[in-house]
């Protein structure tokens, strides 16, 4: 079976403005990729195009999950097939309790009604991994959560849904040093032959905890350079000037 997630010549725009301009990327299961790039270069656009956010229009290219072009699938189908996005700015949903929501999401992912006890056992276990308190999941989803709590909640959802390919959009921003470490340990627990991970970040810091196999640099809607972890270290030192000048 073709265990890859492929983005082929992807063009996407928002409100008539072309943001992604021919992006190519292949992630195999077991791999961790990182994308770094300046503000506004299109990183979150890529993440949302992958999930099928209706605000973003894909004008050319393909996104293939295990060989199947998923561009015509609605967002929820993509999620059920194992795609996951940890949002840069997770949405607040007052009135929906986090645990109840997670139950619905896990049922949707499993394609069946899960046993309530099994679900709660698993939830407890994952909360322990992420050092999340019980009362947290009884609150309304993300409402009044601190920036860091929201990010932690995204990763809790990821651990519960066990995706096949996950995009983490600036999960590190807003996390304090201890929280970053805990979250990264959580991601590392999930890391393995059954999942491909794409980490979007501005800082090498997160990549020190989760060593990527590949690092890509996104500038103006295209991947302009790819390499190993050393690329991230280099960027940290020299900034994007170094890349854009070289172009």
């Amino acid at each position: 079976m073709n265990e890859t997630f492929e983005i082929v010549d992807l063009h996407a725009r928002i409100e008539e403005r072309e943001i992604l301009r021919g992006l190519n990327l292949t992630i195999r299961k077991g791999e961790v990729h990182a994308i770094m790039g300046p503000n506004g270069s299109g990183k979150s656009t890529l993440a949302n195009a992958i999930m099928g956010n209706p605000k973003y229009e894909v004008t050319a290219g393909e996104i293939r999950l295990k060989g199947e072009n998923i561009l015509n699938l609605p967002t929820e189908e993509r999620a059920r097939k194992g795609l996951f996005l940890a949002f840069q700015y997770p949405c607040e949903v007052p009135g929906v309790r986090t645990a109840n929501f997670l139950k619905l999401a896990c049922n949707a992912r499993a394609g069946k009604e899960l046993d309530t006890m099994d679900f709660y056992d698993k939830l407890q276990e994952k909360m322990k991994v992420l050092d999340i308190e019980e009362k947290f999941v009884r609150r309304y989803l993300n409402e009044g959560f601190s920036g860091g709590e929201k990010k932690r909640n995204e990763i809790l959802q990821m651990l519960m849904l066990e995706p096949e390919f996950a995009v983490l959009d600036e999960t590190d921003s807003g996390l304090d040093i201890d929280a970053l470490k805990i979250v990264c340990e959580g991601v590392n627990k999930l890391r393995g032959p059954d999942i491909g991970i794409l980490i979007i970040t501005h800082y090498e810091r997160m990549l020190r905890y989760i060593t990527p196999d590949y690092v890509h640099i996104l500038v103006e809607g295209r991947l302009v350079r790819s390499g190993g972890p050393e690329l991230a270290a280099h960027l940290e030192q020299f900034g994007y000037d170094w890349i854009t000048k070289k172009q």
Binding site: M51, N53, P54, K55, P74, T75, E76, A79, R80, F84, L85, F87, P90, C91, V93, P94, G95, V96, F101, L104, A105, A108, R109, Y140, Q157, L161
Partner: protein, 368 residues
Amino acid sequence: MNLDAQRALAWQTYQRLPLPSRRDVEWQRFDLRALNLNEIEKRPQSVRVSLNSAPGVTLVPLVDQQPIGRAIPPDEPNKFAALASALWRHGAFLRVPAGHKADRPIEITCEFTGANAVAFPRTLIVLEPGAEATLVQQFTGPGDGVHASLTEVFLEEGARLHYVSFQNLAPGALDFTLKRAHVARNAEIDWVVGMFGGSLTRYDVQCIMDGEGGNSFIYGAGVVDDRQQLAQFTRQHHRVGHTTSDLLFKNVLRDRAATNYAGIIKVEKNANGTNAYQSNRNLVLDKTVQCDTRPILEIESHQLRCTHGATVGRLDENQLYYLRTRGLDDTTARNVLIEAFLDPVLARIQVESVRQEFAEIIHRKVLK
């Protein structure tokens, strides 16, 4: 006034008051053609009242217990209240003796059963000083025709009532309801009202703050669809100061439904130190609905805190997308958000089993 005199006066009042008309601001844009009051006094009354009491309280059929008619007098200037005062035959009387704390929820169920019938269930609730109780009242049943209910509540000094009431009548019911609570010194009513059934429904929910230190919390949820018309009138009347009333009515509308909310806050001249809050929030699910909301302030005191607000909004696209990225299909995501909108009302219900029952009714109605 004895009951016969009350009935006679009420009938006169009923006959004197005009039929509702679309020209009245409170019925504007409503379709009243289904309302037929011809020879209403001759139609069969079909309502079944079941009572489920708790130890130490009196819960019996209403006959002529006191103080019937004191909160809602026979000459109440409301055509349907007068009609019910004149013709009612069935009802419930609840008295919780002084200092007694009922240890489990008390239930009153009024079932409207007949076809082309009428029902006038009347309820009288008295909590003596320091008494505490939870009361769950349901208006339900397959009946069609005119249903007009009256509920009078008296909370004496320091009494506390958690009152959950919901109306879940069949589509053929035309429901006119008036509920009025008197709240004495240091007493508190924690009230949750659900409005779900009937094709034409008028709900009047009122609290009268008679004593310092009294509190009223009134939370309402309405879910209407399929051409249902729901008129809501709330009144927070502060007769004395150092009293608090806090009201939130939330409605969900779709499929040619209409709501018309009017909320009055009345603060009398010397009722200084009043806190009065009123809010009406409406979630509109499609463009076929009508939603009107009117706050009305009648304030004569100068030292008070008062806020009121009304909103009419739609589902949030970002929230929908967020839920869908977690695998919830569009319909489920929408239903989750609709129920979420009403959750702050549900959350006021203190008894888990009652909250679940209430949630279940909302869930079924939303899934429809």
